[in-house]
């Protein structure tokens, strides 16, 4: 072995170890399918009729393209980022807090929207959304979105509550009793954003422009609001099914929630409804993104098209209580969703929703002026602990 070939071997090994890879140009044409496709997804996002035979948007895709779909379920955005960093997957259904991290870390590749025939059917409001489009480049295809709504008990609230103050400030509810011990809040640091959004409306003097970009003063005000909330909340919710149980057995009458729980409780005959109050709401929007080293890009592009044009958008929106990225899926009968169903899930409330992003130190207020996410986590632990 000559010195130069040794060098080559060494640099190759080094490149492999450090994960160095040449910049990938976006695809220019779709070839034949590679026979496989692996997706990192939220639970319930990729259904093949095994949970409920009525909900299946994988079988047909596999039959028509020959791409066998395998799913790796992730529970948190951080898990998704970790899995994509590890590699070996083709697609990920990333929420707004994961997508920008994946782009910044060069883990996902730019998408050639011209190769996706149904691209034009995507909700125009999502086509250039900032959580997956960077410098005019598209790094994914919108999957689903939904609001964090205010769920309430219709026996206590004859009229829908107009403000989030029912969960933030102590008051007498329409049934004559205090809200103390009868409201819930989300057991995740991102709930600080809900508090910030409430303050944005009620304390404009704080100058909050985005609930995900808070300087020290604004952040402190949000935490103070949450400390007051701690007095009202007996237990915070993080598991959808525990919240459902608390609405049934624990006497909880109002809480921030997802359409998912609202639909399940309504289906069970519980007297609940949901509303987006005057302050607006936070929400999530997920994007399917393609790994930079994907071994099955052709299958992935076929999935992009399938995701937009098949029954997926319609049926998934029923299944998950979310909104399709293709508005036509609500009405054209490609699946089970109807116009009323989409309205229930919040399709018309897009403008009122501030979508989830990870708080970072360098924000629009300047470098190192905003409180980063890891502090949100430790401080929220303190708030729940009564500090």
């Amino acid at each position: 072995m000559t010195i130069s070939s040794l060098k080559l071997a060494a640099t190759t090994a080094l490149a492999l170890i450090t994960g160095l890879s040449p910049a990938v140009a976006q695809m220019t044409e779709i070839g034949p399918g590679e026979g496989e496709l692996s997706i990192v997804a939220w639970a319930g996002y990729i259904e093949r009729g095994e949970t409920d035979p009525k909900f299946d948007w994988v079988t047909k895709f596999e039959e028509s393209t020959g791409c066998k779909v395998s799913v790796k379920t992730a529970n948190t955005s951080d898990e998704m980022v970790a899995l994509m960093n590890e590699g070996g997957f083709d697609l990920v259904t990333a929420s707004g807090d994961a997508s920008l991290r994946l782009i910044a870390g060069d883990r996902v590749q730019e998408i050639n929207t011209a190769l996706i025939p149904s691209w034009g059917t995507i909700d125009p409001r999502l086509q250039n959304a900032p959580w997956y489009v960077v410098d005019g480049k598209h790094y994914g295809v919108p999957y689903m979105w939904g609001p964090n709504v205010l769920m309430y008990n219709t026996e206590v609230f004859k009229e829908p509550p107009t403000s989030w103050n029912v969960v933030f400030e102590e008051q007498t509810l329409p049934d004559g009793q205090s809200n103390k011990g009868r409201v819930q809040a989300y057991d995740g640091p991102i709930h600080i954003a809900d508090a910030a959004q409430y303050l944005m409306f009620h304390k404009p003097e704080l100058g909050i422009t985005s609930p995900y970009e808070l300087n020290e003063d604004q952040y402190k005000a949000a935490l103070d609001l949450l400390r007051g909330q701690r007095e009202l909340v007996s237990r915070y919710w993080h598991d959808a099914f525990i919240q459902i149980d608390d609405f049934k057995n624990e006497g909880v009458v109002a809480s921030g929630s997802w359409p998912f729980q609202v639909n399940l409780l309504k289906a069970g005959g519980a007297p609940v409804a949901s509303v987006i109050p005057q302050e607006g709401a936070t929400g999530w929007a997920d994007t399917t993104m393609l790994h930079v080293d994907s071994e099955h890009p052709n299958c992935a592009y076929m999935w992009f098209e399938h995701q937009l044009s098949s029954n997926l958008q319609s049926d998934l929106s029923v299944w998950f209580g979310a909104n399709p990225s293709v508005p036509a899926a609500c009405t054209d009968g490609r699946g089970m969703q109807t116009a009323e169903g989409c309205t229930t899930n919040g399709l018309d409330d897009f403008e009122k929703i501030r979508f989830w992003t990870t708080p970072v130190a360098d924000c629009s207020q300047g470098e190192d002026t905003c409180v980063p996410y890891y502090r949100w986590v430790s401080d929220y632990i303190g708030v729940i602990g009564g500090r």
């Binding site: 951080d78 011990g181 640091p189 237990r235 624990e250 980063p372 890891y374 430790s378």
Partner: protein, 314 residues
């Protein structure tokens, strides 16, 4: 006349050759048998523990949230921030309370089983103690959530017999009460005691069974009353069993992160904090530092327990 059978039979195959090899080199067999478990213990078990320890000496960058791989004690200092100290104290108090609660409930049961139950009743007793261990832990905890709920069976029964006043008075006590049993620290305590009780009863019973009858007779002969015998003979001799049981209940409570998630006020315990810090915050150094806390506490606890002879009863 047939030729005599040779003393050493010819080798019949690979198995014979292997047997011979091991017979000639007994240490080789030992090495082959011991290497896999030792590798497991050394690499997988202790290795991950050291990786954890190592992480706890790193710190997280204040601004970017990226882990800095430089040795520092900064992360340990963070443990002493008010909200983190709260978590440690809360967990310790709960562990101690659960241990004492378990010991008080378990002692009469273990005493009866060890000294009075015979034959069929002994079997019934064992079954009764072990039965809860056969069903899923999660199912039991969720069942308790329903039992303790505001609209659950306990509140309902209390209303039925007119004891709501007492229940409400208990729930009004600051520190342990709450809106309902299922959202109060008291509820968390009840579920912990239920779940870990068998781990206290069994070692206690083992210790009580080993108290020789002759000693009790000697004590009676020397004029001791039943109470004196209990206090000066049975209790000291059963103590190692109590301590052995307490090691289980104490450490299990300290490490648990599921019960406080489902029953209680949502206030964090150490296990929950670790889960959240590494899972959603990416603050692995602080999670690792938190994870070291129970290890240190248990090492101190075990040292004391060893002095008291608890390991003889295991």
């Amino acid at each position: 006349m047939t030729s005599p059978t040779p003393a050493i039979l010819p080798e019949r195959g690979l198995a014979d050759r292997l047997t011979a090899l091991f017979w000639r080199h007994p240490r080789l067999l030992l090495a082959v048998l011991l290497t896999p478990p030792l590798l497991w213990l050394g690499v997988v078990y202790l290795g991950s523990l050291f990786a954890l320890l190592l992480q706890s000496f790193y710190s997280i960058d204040e601004f970017s949230g990226v882990v800095k791989e430089e040795f520092t004690l900064k992360t340990y200092a963070e443990l002493f921030r008010a909200q983190n100290l709260d978590i440690i104290i809360r967990t310790l108090v709960m562990s101690a309370a659960v241990t004492i609660g378990c010991a008080l409930i378990a002692f009469p049961i273990a005493y009866y089983a060890a000294r009075f139950a015979r034959g069929k009743w002994k079997a019934v007793f064992y079954l009764g103690v072990m039965l809860p261990l056969w069903s899923s832990y999660l199912v039991k905890v969720y069942a308790w959530k329903l039992i303790l709920a505001k609209e659950g069976i306990i509140t309902w029964a209390a209303e039925g017999v007119g004891l709501s006043m007492i229940l409400n008075a208990i729930l009004a006590i600051p520190g342990i009460g709450g809106n309902s049993l299922s959202t109060s620290p008291l509820g968390t305590f009840i579920v912990f005691v239920y779940v870990w009780l068998p781990y206290m009863i069994l070692p206690m019973q083992a210790a009580l069974e080993r108290v020789p009858t002759s000693m009790l007779e000697a004590s009676a002969d020397l004029g001791a009353s039943r109470a004196q015998t209990f206090r000066t003979v049975i209790l000291p001799l059963a103590m190692p069993g109590v301590i052995a049981g307490s090691i289980f209940t104490f450490s299990l409570t300290m490490g648990d992160y599921i019960i406080p998630q489902i029953v209680g006020t949502s206030a964090r315990f150490i296990g929950l904090a670790v889960y959240q810090l590494q899972g959603t915050a990416g603050n692995i150094p602080l999670a690792a530092a938190f994870a070291v806390v129970p290890i240190v506490i248990m090492l101190i606890y075990l040292t004391i327990a060893k002095r008291k002879g608890a390991f003889d009863a295991l």
